[in-house]
């Protein structure tokens, strides 16, 4: 099942074209990795999917981005609803300077018409269990989130996102601030999460893409050069530029 598609997606920062005619479709409940050298437009594309680029002045987007068949680039698209459905995990773990508890219930407080204490408790437990933090943190829910380790912070950020029940999880280099062990554990978590979520991860760590993803796209200078099953991309790339990149000739 296709969850998210981009059709003839073009994007400009003022005069600079950051995305050129990108056509791609992402499968539901799979992990898709987008790789490519710095500045190739992979983060920009990711941020187009929840329209975070709208925050940046001078950005102009053309084409279509279909999520469940609906073009989210339409003018009438409600951004709050879109971002509730398409959540994002950022490069640097960025919990709010609040307690662990407050971080996780933030989404519920924003979206719920009426806040019920019992429901909050359940959200806390479910979300923390989903990221395997429940056992570690259940007794210190009211401690400040900024006191956690980097890995715990990033897990907490994922839990905070899961708490709003998105369909699609966009991950923008989610492990680049973490050490290799923590990275491995977050990747483990991603494999767990793909049972329930469609995950798109941007990374310039090729091994990571090879390890966790089902499909991979390679981008270069704003173009999607090649897209396919991860093992195909890494073992028999069709395009010479892809091959050059994955064999480390540039990056």
């Amino acid at each position: 099942m296709e969850k998210l598609q981009a059709r003839n997606l073009n994007l400009w920062y003022y005069d600079f074209q950051a995305l050129k005619d990108v056509n791609v479709s992402f499968e539901e409940k799979k992990i898709t990795a987008i790789i490519g050298p710095s500045g190739c437009g992979k983060s920009t594309m990711l941020r187009a999917f929840n329209r975070m680029n709208d925050l940046i002045e001078g950005v102009r987007t053309e084409g279509k981005i279909l999520i469940d068949g609906e073009n989210i680039l339409n003018n009438g698209m409600g951004l709050e609803g879109l971002r509730k459905k398409v959540g994002m995990v950022f490069q640097r773990p960025n919990p709010f300077p609040l307690s662990i508890y407050e971080n996780i219930v933030f989404g519920e407080k924003i979206h719920a018409e009426k806040i019920k204490k019992g429901r909050l408790e359940r959200i806390i437990e479910d979300s923390l269990k989903a990221v395997f933090l429940w056992d570690d943190l259940k007794d210190k829910l009211h401690k400040p989130a900024l006191g956690l380790s980097l890995e715990q912070k990033q897990r907490l950020c994922i839990a905070r996102l899961i708490a709003v029940k998105p369909d699609v999880v966009l991950m923008d280099e989610p492990c680049s601030a973490l050490d290799p062990q923590a990275t491995a554990r977050i990747e483990e978590l991603m494999r767990e999460l793909k049972n329930n979520y469609t995950i798109i991860i941007v990374t310039h760590n090729m091994q990571q893409a090879a390890r966790v993803s089902d499909e991979t796209g390679f981008m270069l200078l704003g173009e999607l050069i090649e897209f396919g099953r991860t093992e195909d991309i890494f073992t028999r790339p069709k395009d010479r530029r892809t091959e050059d990149y994955i064999t480390g000739r540039y990056g």
Binding site: E80, R83, N94, F106, I110
Partner: protein, 282 residues
């Protein structure tokens, strides 16, 4: 080599002397006022009305008047200043209008205080017919401290990391929810600091209240915001220059009370800022 070492020494000495020169007047002012004013301070001085043509008795009405004015000023200036700061830092785009607004705020901060006094007289006392009253005085002081509140609040809002806003929006919060739940709570200590600095400024000014509220001699407490009131800075001016034969002790005592009031407010502002700096970790 030796030449550069010597010019280094001279430069150091000059810089040090210049810095020392700043401390001397501050220290002298405080020492003189404390030494000369402290003997006047007692419970009667703080709690009694002025007697014998302000040559005896206390300064209680002036203390109360100043407190009323300061509270009044903040009641007007804080909401308006804060809302303006939120608009400027969160909503306004960089364009001609926002540049004009920012320019106006800078200019507002540079207007001499006596001009505020005249403005308050023309607008609030005469045009709105509030008369010389706590209301007129508070509004005038409020306008005077608006730039302080707007500027410090803007800085406080803008110092909240961009990433917090980004995450909040990415979780589906609206812009206003983001400001309300994430930006404002993290900016409150900075806003408070600015507010208290504004309060200190309002408490100490004479010129803006001269024509708008201050009573020469009013040995009772104001009953409503439409009453005139005594105020510490104006009272100090009156007993120093307008009334003959006032004991030096009383003049310096009044100055000391005003100084303590203002220093106390600044101290509170410093403590809040310090605690906040220690707490924040991003």
């Amino acid at each position: 080599m030796r030449n550069s070492a010597r010019s280094q020494k001279i430069a150091f000495a000059l810089l040090f002397l210049a810095t020392l020169l700043i401390i001397i007047p501050v220290g002298l002012i405080v020492v003189i006022i404390v030494i000369k004013g402290l003997p006047a301070i007692n419970w009667q001085f703080l709690s009694d009305i002025p007697r014998q043509g302000m040559r005896a008795g206390g300064i209680f009405p002036a203390i109360i008047g100043t407190l009323y004015l300061v509270i009044g000023a903040i009641v007007f200036a804080l909401p308006i200043g804060l809302l303006a700061a939120i608009y400027l830092s969160e909503y306004s785009k960089e364009n001609f209008l926002s540049r004009m607004i920012k320019l106006a705020i800078v200019n507002l901060a540079g207007v001499p205080s006596v001009v505020y006094g005249l403005f308050g007289l023309a607008l609030f006392v005469v045009f709105f017919k509030f008369g010389a009253s706590i209301l007129s005085g508070s509004l005038t002081l409020g306008i005077m401290i608006l730039p302080i509140i707007i500027t410090t609040s803007r800085e406080a809002l803008e110092s909240v990391p961009h990433s917090f806003r980004e995450v909040s929006l990415s979780l589906g919060a609206s812009k206003w929810q983001t400001i309300r739940h994430i930006v404002l709570p993290n900016a409150i200590p900075g806003i408070l600091t600015g507010t208290i600095l504004g309060l200190g400024r309002a408490a100490g000014e004479t010129a803006p209240i001269l024509f708008t509220v201050a009573a020469f001699y009013l040995p009772r407490l104001p009953k409503s915001i439409f009453d005139q009131a005594m105020a510490l800075p104006y009272h100090l001016y009156v007993i120093s220059t307008q009334v003959p034969n006032v004991d030096e002790k009383i003049r310096y005592g009044t100055a000391l009370v005003l100084l303590i009031l203002v220093l106390f407010m600044n101290l509170v502002a410093i403590i809040i800022r310090y605690k906040f700096r220690k707490k924040k970790k991003w």
